[in-house]
C-alpha cells in the first residue's frame, strides 16, 4: 500500500524526520511548509491522507483544513501541540478526522494513518435506514427523502456503525474502536465532535436529534428505523 501523504508543517526538522519515518513505513510523502500554498499542493498531489500542523505561518491550519474539506473528504490528521479542549474541538470542527498530540510516537502516528486508510475492503451490499435517512453502503451515499447528503468518509462510517445495530447503545470507547480503529481508549472528545458534525448534516433539527440519539451516561445509538 503505497499511500500518498501530504505533510503540511513549517518545522523543517520535523518534516524531514517525518519523511524518513513515513518512507520507512512505505508511504510516499510530499511536504509543504506554508499554509498559503497548502491547498495548491493538495490539488496537485491528490494525497490519500493529509498530516496538518495547526500552527502554520500564513494561512492557519484551521483554514487549510476547511479549504481541503470544502473540496474533498480525504482523511485529515491534525498534528497539534495544544491539548486544550478549545483547540482540539476547533480543529475537529473545522473538518479534521483525527488528531495526534505532539510529541507523538511514530508508531502511533502510522497506526492512525493506517486506520484512516484501511477503507478499501469491499463492503457487503446492504441498504440501511434510520428514520428518514437511507444509507447505501456500497454506493457510499446517504439520502434523506431522495436528497443526497454529503458526508465525509469518517462521518459515513460513524453513521453506518450506528445504523447496523439499531437498538444497540454504543459507548464512545466502542465507537472509537470500530470507527477510528483504536484499540486503547483515546480521547472521547473525538466522538463527541464528530457526532455533532454528523447531526448538523443528517438531522432536521440538530438540537433535537432523531437519527443519532444520546443515551445519557452511556453513549449513542441510532434512532428508530
Amino acid at each position: 500500500m503505497k499511500g500518498r501523504v501530504l505533510v503540511v508543517d513549517d518545522d523543517p526538522a520535523l518534516a524531514e524526520m517525518l519523511g524518513i519515518v513515513l518512507r520507512g513505513e512505505g508511504f510516499d510523502p510530499s511536504f509543504v511548509a506554508d499554509g498559503g500554498r497548502a491547498i495548491g499542493c493538495f490539488r496537485d498531489i491528490r494525497p490519500d491522507v493529509v498530516l496538518l500542523d495547526l500552527m502554520l505561518p500564513g494561512v492557519s491550519g484551521i483554514d487549510v483544513c476547511k479549504q481541503i474539506r470544502a473540496e474533498s473528504g480525504v482523511p485529515i490528521i491534525m498534528l497539534t501541540a495544544k491539548t486544550d479542549t478549545v483547540d482540539v474541538v476547533l480543529g475537529l470542527e473545522s473538518g479534521a478526522d483525527d488528531y495526534v498530540v505532539k510529541p507523538f510516537k511514530p508508531k502511533e502516528l502510522v497506526a492512525r494513518m493506517r486506520a484512516r486508510l484501511r477503507r478499501t475492503d469491499e463492503p457487503p451490499a446492504e441498504a440501511l435506514s434510520i428514520g428518514e435517512v437511507s444509507i447505501d453502503v456500497p454506493g457510499h451515499s446517504v439520502t434523506r427523502d431522495g436528497i443526497p447528503i454529503a458526508l465525509t468518509p469518517l462521518e459515513f462510517d460513524l453513521l453506518v456503525a450506528l445504523a447496523r445495530k439499531p437498538r444497540r447503545v454504543f459507548t464512545r470507547e466502542v465507537l472509537l474502536e470500530q470507527v477510528w480503529g483504536y484499540r486503547h481508549a483515546a480521547d472521547t472528545r473525538l466522538v463527541n465532535v464528530h457526532v455533532q458534525r454528523l447531526r448538523s448534516k443528517v438531522e432536521r433539527d440538530p438540537e433535537h436529534p432523531e437519527i443519532v440519539l444520546t443515551v445519557r451516561g452511556v453513549g449513542y445509538k441510532a434512532g428508530p428505523p
Binding site: V21, M55, K102, K105, H184
Partner: protein, 645 residues
C-alpha cells in the same frame, strides 16, 4: 435587619423539637477540598419533622376549655382538620366544645393578626430608623429642638403672664387706695345716725368710686357695711366676694385674691378681687373691687398661641433644615456606596463625579483614586495571568515540536539498535527510556501550570465510573506486572453514573493506581468503587510501608517523596498526586489520604453525582476496615487527611 431578634409567629403548640439528621459521615472529621466546614448539627431540619411540628401547632384547641360563649358559626367548626394525632391526643370534642374552640380560635386569630401587623410595622420602622441616617438626624433634631422650644415657650409665656397680671394688680391697688380715700372722706363728712343716711352715704360712695375711669380698666364695686345692705355696681353681687377675702378684710387689712367674677356681659370669668376696710368702727364699711381679667386673658391667650405656633414652625423648620443638610451629605455617600457596590461587582470603570472642593468632593476624589489604583492592579494581574497562559501555551508548542523530532529520531535509533555497537545500542535504549520520562514530566508540568494559571476547565458529562476504573486499571497493567502487584477490583454490578470529566477522573485513578503500585512492595492493590444518591467514591489501597504521622498531609505536595533514599521503580513524575488533587477540586470533590506505618496507605476519591453539588459525605470510609488501631504507650495517631490546603 441588624440587632433585632427575629420573631417568628407560630401558633402556640407542642412543636416537637426537630432532631438533626444524622449525617452519614459523622465520624468523618476531615476537611474537604472545597474548604467548607461541615454543616453544624441541628442546622438541618428534615422536612418530615417540620410537617409534624406544623400540624401539632394546632394543639392549643384542646387545652382546658376557656369559657367563651357565643355562636361561632358552623362553617368554621366544619373545617376542623382531622389530624389523627390530635384526635388521639385530646378528649373527644362534642358539638359545643367544637363551637367554643372555633370561637376561641377566631378570637386568637384576630388578636394574633393585630399583633403581627403591630410587630411588622414596628420592625419596618426600626429598619427604616437603622437604615436612614437622614431620618435619624431629622428625628433627633425635632426631639431636641422641640424640647428647647417647649422650655423657652413655657418660660416666656410664664414671664408675660406674670408681667401682665402684676401690672393689673398694681393698677388695681392704686384704684382701690383712691376709692378708700374717697369713701373715707365721704363717710367722715356724712351723718351716720340712721340707717337711711348711712345707706345714702354708702350709695354715694359707691357711685363716686365706681364712676372713676382709671388705668385699672373696668371693674365692679361692692360696698358692704355692718349695718346696711351691700351696695353693688355693675352686675356684681355681694356673694361674688369670696369669704376668705372678707375674713382678711374684717381684720382690717388690704387683701386681694383671684376669683371668678361676672364680666360686663354677665358671664363668669376669671378675675381679681381686692378688698379694703374703709372704717374700723362698729358698723364698719368694706369696699371691694372686682376686676374681670377678660382682656388680660385674651392677651395671654394670644401670646400663648403665638408662642405655640412659632415653636411648631421653628421645630418644623429645623427638622426640614436638618433633613436637607443631612440629605446633602447623605446623598453623595449613598452614591458612593452604590458606586462601590458596582465596582465590587466587577464594573471596574465605575467612578464618582467630583463636584466642588468640599469634603464630599474629597471623598469622591479619594474613592476614584482608590478605584484607579485597584483597576490598575487588577489589570496588571489579568495581564500577568494572560501572559502566564500565553507562556504556557507557547512553551507547550515550542518545546513539543522539537521534542517530537527527537522522539521520532530516538524511536528510529531504538528500532534499529540491533545493528549497533553494544555501547551505542545501550545509549539508544537510555535515550528512549529517558525521553519517556521527559515527556511525561513535561506533560505534568504543563498540566500543573494550567491549574496555576486557572485555565483548567471542567467538561462534565454523565459517565459510568466503572468504565473509568476499568480503563485506569487496564492502563496501569503494564507497570503492575513487573512489580508483581495484583490489582483487585471491587465494583458494583449496576452502573455508577456521575457528572464527571472522564479524562480527568481517569487520570486521577491512574495516578492513584501508579502511586499504589509503586508503594505496594509486591502486595495486592485493592480498588473499590461505591456510589449513593449524592456521591461516588473510589478507594485505592496498598499494603506497603504506609505513611508516618503527618505524611498524609504531605503526599499531595509537588515532588514530595515519602523516602528520598528509595529507588524509583516506576518513574512517576512526582506531580501525579498534586494534579489529581487539583482534578478532584475542579470537580468539587475530595481527595483524601490515609496511612499508618506497616499497614499501607489508602487514597479515597469522592465526587458529587451532580456537578456543582456540595459534598457532605462519602459512600466509603477513609479508614480501611482491616486497619488496626495502634496500641501501647507510643501514641501514634492515625493519619488521615487532607486535601484542603
Amino acid at each position: 435587619m441588624t440587632g433585632l431578634p427575629t420573631v417568628r409567629w407560630t401558633r402556640r403548640g407542642r412543636t416537637s423539637p426537630s432532631s438533626p439528621r444524622p449525617t452519614q459521615g459523622a465520624g468523618d472529621e476531615l476537611g474537604d477540598a472545597s474548604g467548607r466546614p461541615a454543616r453544624p448539627p441541628g442546622d438541618f431540619r428534615p422536612p418530615a419533622a417540620a410537617t409534624t411540628a406544623r400540624s401539632n401547632g394546632a394543639g392549643w384547641r384542646i387545652g382546658p376549655d376557656p369559657a367563651v360563649p357565643g355562636d361561632p358559626g358552623h362553617e368554621v367548626a366544619d373545617r376542623e382538620p382531622t389530624d389523627p394525632q390530635l384526635l388521639t391526643a385530646g378528649p373527644p370534642l362534642d358539638g359545643d366544645g367544637r363551637r367554643r374552640a372555633a370561637w376561641d380560635r377566631a378570637v386568637r386569630g384576630r388578636w394574633s393578626t393585630v399583633r403581627r401587623v403591630a410587630v411588622e410595622s414596628a420592625r419596618w420602622a426600626l429598619d427604616r430608623w437603622q437604615r436612614s441616617l437622614q431620618l435619624r438626624v431629622a428625628a433627633t433634631t425635632v426631639l431636641i429642638s422641640g424640647l428647647v422650644v417647649l422650655v423657652v415657650g413655657m418660660l416666656s409665656v410664664g414671664a408675660i403672664t406674670n408681667g401682665v397680671l402684676d401690672a393689673k394688680r398694681q393698677a388695681a391697688r392704686i384704684e382701690a387706695a383712691n376709692g378708700v380715700r374717697i369713701a373715707q372722706d365721704q363717710l367722715t363728712s356724712a351723718p351716720r345716725e340712721d340707717r337711711l343716711s348711712i345707706g345714702r352715704t354708702l350709695s354715694a360712695v359707691q357711685q363716686s368710686v365706681s364712676r372713676r375711669g382709671t388705668a385699672a380698666g373696668l371693674f365692679s364695686i361692692v360696698v358692704i357695711s355692718g349695718n346696711a345692705d351691700p351696695f353693688v355696681s355693675g352686675n356684681a353681687t355681694a356673694s361674688d366676694v369670696p369669704q376668705e377675702l372678707r375674713r382678711e378684710v374684717e381684720k382690717g387689712r388690704f387683701a386681694e385674691i383671684y376669683a371668678p367674677v361676672k364680666a360686663a356681659d354677665g358671664t363668669s370669668t376669671k378675675g381679681l378681687v381686692l378688698g379694703a376696710p374703709v372704717t374700723q368702727q362698729p358698723g364698719s364699711v368694706e369696699l371691694y373691687y372686682l376686676f374681670p381679667l377678660q382682656a388680660e386673658q385674651r392677651t395671654l391667650g394670644l401670646v400663648r398661641s403665638t408662642v405655640l405656633l412659632t415653636g411648631i414652625l421653628l421645630v418644623a423648620l429645623l427638622a426640614g433644615v436638618a433633613a436637607l443638610v443631612t440629605g446633602q451629605v447623605v446623598r453623595p455617600v449613598r452614591v458612593a456606596a452604590q458606586t462601590a457596590e458596582r465596582f465590587a461587582a466587577g464594573r471596574l470603570q465605575e467612578r464618582m463625579r467630583v463636584r466642588g472642593k468640599d469634603d464630599l468632593a474629597a471623598l469622591a476624589a479619594a474613592f476614584n483614586d482608590m478605584a484607579d489604583s485597584l483597576q490598575r492592579q487588577i489589570g496588571k494581574l489579568e495581564e500577568m495571568s494572560r501572559l502566564q497562559r500565553r507562556f504556557t501555551s507557547d512553551v507547550s508548542h515550542e518545546l513539543r515540536t522539537p521534542l517530537t523530532t527527537v522522539r521520532m529520531a530516538a524511536d528510529l535509533l531504538h528500532a534499529s539498535r540491533g545493528g549497533f555497537e553494544p555501547q551505542v545500542a545501550r545509549s539508544a535504549e537510555l535515550l528512549q527510556h529517558e525521553l519517556d520520562r521527559f515527556e511525561s514530566l513535561l506533560a505534568d508540568l504543563l498540566e500543573i501550570s494550567r491549574y496555576d494559571a486557572h485555565v483548567a476547565v471542567l467538561e462534565p458529562d454523565p459517565a459510568d465510573i466503572r468504565g473509568l476504573v476499568r480503563a485506569a486499571v487496564a492502563a496501569t497493567g503494564g507497570i503492575a506486572e513487573p512489580v508483581g502487584a495484583d490489582v483487585r477490583v471491587d465494583i458494583p454490578e449496576e452502573p455508577v453514573v456521575a457528572d464527571v470529566d472522564g479524562r480527568r477522573v481517569e487520570r486521577i485513578l491512574r495516578n492513584l493506581l501508579v502511586n499504589a503500585i509503586e508503594h505496594s512492595e509486591g502486595r495486592p492493590v485493592e480498588v473499590c468503587l461505591r456510589g449513593d444518591d449524592s456521591a461516588v467514591a473510589v478507594t485505592v489501597r496498598d499494603h506497603g510501608v504506609g505513611l508516618r504521622p503527618g505524611e498524609a498531609a504531605l503526599v499531595f505536595d509537588r515532588f514530595w517523596r515519602a523516602d528520598p533514599s528509595r529507588d524509583r521503580r516506576t518513574g512517576g513524575t512526582g506531580l501525579g498526586l498534586s494534579i489529581s488533587l487539583e482534578d478532584a477540586r475542579l470537580h468539587g470533590g475530595w481527595l483524601h489520604a490515609w496511612g499508618r506505618p506497616g499497614q499501607g496507605a489508602q487514597f479515597r476519591l469522592t465526587l458529587p453525582v451532580r456537578n456543582g453539588d456540595v459534598l457532605v459525605s462519602s459512600p466509603l470510609p477513609i479508614e480501611p476496615a482491616d486497619a488496626t488501631r495502634p496500641t501501647g504507650l507510643i501514641r501514634r495517631l492515625p493519619v488521615a487527611s487532607e486535601s484542603s490546603r
